[in-house]
């Protein structure tokens, strides 16, 4: 979320309740900012489970496959050498590197996919300019409604947040217009 109205809440429970309340009022483009992941917040905002494992899985398989193939190509196909009488294509001996490369590919893909999905690194975000937002990483829980929400109307959202118990509200803007 880059532009929209944000409301501050004191507890994680209040934050989840506010998300539920906003959805009940018909808002769909919600976001929340909390010092630690809050149980049930994503479900309350209507988000599904992260697809990240399904992105990583094919890369993990590819890592393993490529690693095995390289070993086979080097030692069994391109330049077979008799070392200690072991067969050139020694499948058991190729397994350790195959496994390690599978894990390595999965871990690196996981991080890259995470950065891609979340748009990080993004050192500055308009929400940082909201007064009091710096406590979102310490002990405050912020709930926001994005301006792209079809039912978005600034005054109504501010009232809704206040009704749901927000101790204060703020306006984040991608361009400094307001």
């Amino acid at each position: 979320m880059r532009t929209g109205v944000l409301g501050e809440f004191e507890t994680p429970e209040a934050m989840v309740a506010a998300l539920v309340g906003l959805r009940r009022r018909g808002y769909r483009r919600l976001d929340a900012f909390s010092p630690y992941p809050v149980h049930g917040a994503e479900e309350a905002a209507g988000m599904s489970r992260s697809p990240l494992p399904w992105i990583v899985f094919p890369f993990a398989l590819a890592g393993a496959g490529v690693a095995y193939l390289i070993q086979w190509y080097c030692n069994a196909y391109d330049y077979p050498l008799n070392v200690g009488g072991r067969p050139p294509h020694s499948a058991p001996a190729f397994i350790p590197i195959t496994f390690e490369m599978c894990v390595l590919a999965a871990a690196i893909t996981g991080i890259v996919a995470y950065l891609a999905l979340t748009g990080l690194p993004e050192l500055w975000s308009p929400v940082f300019e909201v007064p009091g937002f710096e406590r979102a990483s310490i002990d405050r829980f912020w709930v926001g409604v994005d301006v792209r929400d079809p039912r978005f109307e600034r005054g109504a959202v501010e009232r809704a947040l206040a009704e749901l118990g927000a101790s204060r509200t703020g306006w984040a803007a991608a361009r400094q217009t307001s």
Partner: protein, 464 residues
Amino acid sequence: MSEPRHPARASAEDPLSEPLLIGKKTDAELAEQLLSPVWTPRSSLGWRVAFGLSALATALLIYGVTVTLTEGIGLWGNNIPVGWAFGIINFVWWIGIGHAGTFISAILLLLEQQWRTSINRFTEAMTLFAVIQAGLFPLLHLGRPWFFYWLIPYPATMQAWPNFRSALPWDAAAVFTYFTVSFLFWYLGLLPDFAKLRDVAPDRARRIAYGIFALGFRGSLEQNRHYRVLYGLLAGLATPLVVSVHSIVSSDFAITLVPGWHSTIFPPFFVAGAIFSGFAMVVTLLVPVRRIFGLSNVITRRHLDNLAKMMLVTAWIVIYSYIIEDFIAWYSGSPYEKYQFFIARPFDAGSRVFWAQQICNILVPQLLWWRWVRTNPIVLFVISILVNVGMWSERFVIIVMSLQRDYLPSQWGDYTPTRVDLSLFVGTMGLFMLLFLAFLRLFPFIPVAEVAELQHELATRKEL
């Protein structure tokens, strides 16, 4: 729940009644306490003395590396028949120490062991720094470390490929993967805390520095949603690494024919020993840090108790392996194996190291049967040092003693480490401590976000 007035008596009734966190704090107070070591302008005297000593020891490492690079590995004490000595002993020892860190951060996360929360960042850092030390030894042992890339299969003008049927390329792949995955896992865990540091930084320079480290993380729903899944995924990926890396290291030995090495028990035996020594190192580091930074409310006696129990369990797996090793040596009927296990190790050259291993790894951990010992930081600290000594001795016994009493008596020889060997070993301890002490001052070494989450969870369940 506040701390019982007679904790010893209370815990004597129910061992699990010891709290994981003592005293409920507000999230702001908790963040203030756990982030403050990063802002405190002056370090404590204990920290500065330790830093000075580590810097001195690191100078020894620089000396050792420099002479090894300029003169060659002839300056090391290993020579035929003992072709592998300090270089490999220290490699195995250091990498084993790393394993407890991964065990705590990954396996205990998957097993939902809440007590890992306070100490996982700390032990992950220990893993990283230990793997750095470990990697140094095989690299230097190459003789010409600047050709390390010959281990990578690239189309070279030599037209030859690495031999992947040898355990050494496995080592290279395993250690590189282990370091990379450990680093990514550690950094991912640090992201929310870097964001906190950015938001509470007292001046602009540090706000920018920690802001860059935080990558702009702000705990939004989208970021947290993927974060949780990725963190679990990386834990799942790191878990088999705990088992695989040391199994591969043990294959360096097990796939050869040397008496004392050629054994199928090596992979589980090495993994258990690795976790055993790693937990000992966690205690060695944790006890002083807990005291210096006044953290007994987040690292409670329950943590010490659990760490000690893990040491006891892994000690018994190691002891069991010793018994099986001896049994197989006898049962094999091979005179070389029998000579190695029953005469060479206990009575021949270097037998003092063997007896140090027996005492430190078999007898000393038995003290951990007593709860008083398990929850007494000072006694635990002493035991952990002895276990570290014991596990180093074990690697010495396996590597040096097997090689010096091989099949042909005419090829027997003894081994003495040289000054360069010793400076490299002491030097890596120095560099390890130096990195660790710097980490304590620059990074939040207790995961603030996770502890706050745990506190909230415990409070919801009325356990705090």
